[in-house]
């Protein structure tokens, strides 16, 4: 007979493991194609996330923002208390569609920098031919 008395305990341990290890996706509804580059390194998910979708719409932590000025105003109170040396605390993940042109994404970058953030640009690693 298979001992099943501890199955519930094992199951709950697995649930706790999954709950602790999971990061819920903030930008579930944001459609964007990641840019690619060869020399990218693993980055940690910081608390703040700014995304610009393929239509050029701006999102802060998954919530739509009217424009780059509104983004700067929303970021400032969240970054103002951070120490200038606190690189991780000031990090803002920047996810942007690769087809957008400078006039669409640069005001967003300026807003992040203007609010005191450090840009952590997210992309995909380009596969190089051996």
């Amino acid at each position: 007979m298979v001992p099943i008395a501890s199955m519930g305990d094992i199951a709950f341990l697995l649930i706790i493991f999954f709950m602790l290890c999971s990061n819920f996706v903030k930008e579930k509804n944001v459609e964007y194609k990641k840019p690619m580059a060869t020399d990218l390194t693993a980055i940690e998910d910081s608390g703040l996330s700014v995304a610009v979708d393929k239509k050029g719409e701006i999102y802060l932590d998954g919530k739509s923002i009217a424009d780059s000025d509104a983004l700067k105003s929303a970021l400032e109170p969240r970054l103002k208390d951070k120490d200038a040396k606190d690189q991780k605390g000031r990090s803002v993940m920047f996810k942007c569609d690769k087809t957008l042109v400078k006039t669409q994404f640069e005001p967003v970058l300026e807003a992040i920098v203007g609010a005191g953030g450090i840009v952590v640009a997210v992309g995909d690693k380009k596969k190089t031919n051996p």
Binding site: D39, A42, K98, T99, V101, E110, V113
Partner: protein
């Protein structure tokens, strides 16, 4: 008259038989809804400046100009591979912060793909990206 002894609520056993079933259903939910995504990218602190006000400084500072479909390094047309070598030759990692600045000036029609690639090359060469914006 005999009274029936009331059954204390504490005596009612909690049904534990279905706990493991519920737990396994939760596990299946987590497995199906979790997508394992490893984030890759680069981190950069971007100082910005106005193009017109910076003209005298830019004469000494390495500058990458981006146009739709191409890049110029210090006014010379380069491919991205050539740009990697040119940035590597500057040995920015051995310089002080103020001397590690590489200015990035992009045309209006430059897409984020090219911009991102060049930013990653500058960061990888230990450069500090200075974005030139138009007034």
């Amino acid at each position: 008259m005999a009274f029936k002894a009331r059954k204390s609520k504490k005596d009612v056993p909690i049904p534990l038989d279905s706990f493991s079933d519920i737990a396994f259903l939760l596990i299946i939910f987590f497995i199906l809804t979790t997508s394992i995504e490893k984030l890759v990218g680069f981190s950069t602190e971007l100082p910005t400046g106005k193009a017109t006000a910076q003209k005298q400084e830019t004469a000494k500072t390495p500058t990458v100009v981006l146009k739709a479909g191409g890049a110029l390094f210090n006014d010379q047309s380069v491919t991205l591979d050539q740009l990697t070598h040119r940035l590597g030759a500057l040995e920015l990692g051995e310089k002080e912060d103020a001397e590690r600045v590489v200015l990035l000036d992009a045309g209006k029609d430059v897409d984020y793909q090219l911009y991102f690639e060049v930013m990653s090359l500058i960061t990888d060469a230990n450069g500090v990206i200075g974005i030139l914006t138009e007034e």
